[in-house]
Amino acid sequence: MSPFDALKEKIKQALPDLDYVIGWQQGFDSLHATPLFMRTPEDVDRLIWNPLCVHNLSTYLPSLKGKKVGIVLKGCDSRGVIELLQENLVERENLVLFGMPCSGVVDLTKIRRKVGDLERVSGVTIDDAALVATTPEGEVSMPRDEIAADKCLVCQFHNAIEPDHFEGDPLPPSTGADLGGDELAMLEAMAPAELMTYWAKQMERCIRCYACRNACPMCVCRDHCIAQSRDPHWLTQEDTPREKLMFQLIHTMHLAGRCIQCGECQRACPVDIPILALRRKMDRVIRELFDYQAGLDAKATPPLSTFQVEEANIKERRW
């Protein structure tokens, strides 16, 4: 029995005790997967597990408090669950975690750059080396590492952390460059005014759809988000780059020390604004200052919720 069949068997066995199990199914076309909520054994047969399963399903968990749910996890998604556990936003006894080794997911933006328009793709086959898309002009073969999401190229967590059921052989961590190092180096090389202009330009495209927030597993305020609150009135409804950048900075600051670097914000962005760079910078700052990475230890305290009287890495600022 293949690991995937074994996983489906495990889910079927667990289903009677659960409200449902969340996974992925084939979506509206061959390139998209969509979330699947499995309630019956027949639903489980629709489950898929391949590099098109890009969504971080842990986003659903905070709103399901009180329900007993199972969830299929990639390694990076499991950091979301750990972080939610750490913040008491989900209850461990109500969760069943299913995992398989993940060899990386695709970045549809990179595929779009190669094939022009995703709607022209009528069929897809995927193996370990390449993704082959069928287009009107013929088959386009794309090596996996050219279309992989950036996070997957340097992934340290191919296997779910602390799963209840894990099928298949765990993969070793990838070795690679610093995550987003090139992008940050490019930004940091700019002069300050030029950099601010860069962000203002990028933000002009933003349509304030808040997909970045809604896809984020750690954005848990939802209906109480200060982006829409009138008291305090942090943001107006104006579509100016200032307001939009302010929203991104609110998102980044509220994720400081909590962001699990799953990249869902940027993936969900319909206009491809490189907002992940802001989160990566903050992640790097938190690692430098507190030697801490979010989503690895459910018992840890987020670094900005605590302090030490003598900080190891903060120089006292006395003029």
Binding site: E194, M196, R242, M246, A256, V285, P303, S305, V309
Partner: protein, 158 residues
């Protein structure tokens, strides 16, 4: 003679009610001359300061932001400044990525009796911000508080 000749810049200072605000008062009572670019906002504790206050202030066109609280271990609320220190340090290291020069934001500690020190802090920070010049934020994002009409929106005679 004014300490800084030339045009004033807009610097916003968030001061803890218990120490630095008192320190600024002590400096005033002691008649220590200071640059007048700084506008003070009094807060109950440096721990009250959401880093987003600073981000919003800078994006809205302030040329510099200064945060000052009680010295570590001296907080009126035991640990507000220690929590603030982590947040402010993270913010300080993060800000350059959005194009804010590191020198436009500083945080420091001044106690109520340190009038002389307050004078030095204000003077040094004001000089530092003047060396950087006016913030580019207004030029890039447009002046803050512009109405829709200023930006070419519907023009209704008022």
């Amino acid at each position: 003679m004014p300490i800084l000749a030339g045009k004033e810049l807009r610097i916003v200072g968030f001061l803890c009610n218990w120490c630095s605000y008192g320190g600024a008062d002590t400096a005033g009572v002691g008649r220590f001359t200071q640059p007048t670019d700084l506008r003070i906002i009094r807060v109950p504790c440096s721990g009250r300061i959401d880093p987003l206050f600073i981000v919003k202030t800078l994006l809205s066109g302030a040329d510099g932001v200064l945060v000052s609280g009680c010295h570590p271990r001296d907080c009126h609320y035991t640990s507000g400044n220690l929590l603030a220190r982590r947040r402010l340090e993270a913010l300080k290291r993060f800000l350059p990525i959005i194009g804010v020069e590191p020198g436009r934001f500083e945080y420091t500690w001044v106690s109520a009796s340190e009038g002389q020190r307050w004078q030095q802090v204000v003077q040094r920070f004001t000089e530092q911000v003047h060396a950087l010049g006016p913030s580019p934020a207004n030029a890039i994002f447009g002046a803050c508080g512009e109405t829709a009409q200023d930006k070419g929106g519907s023009s209704v005679a008022i």
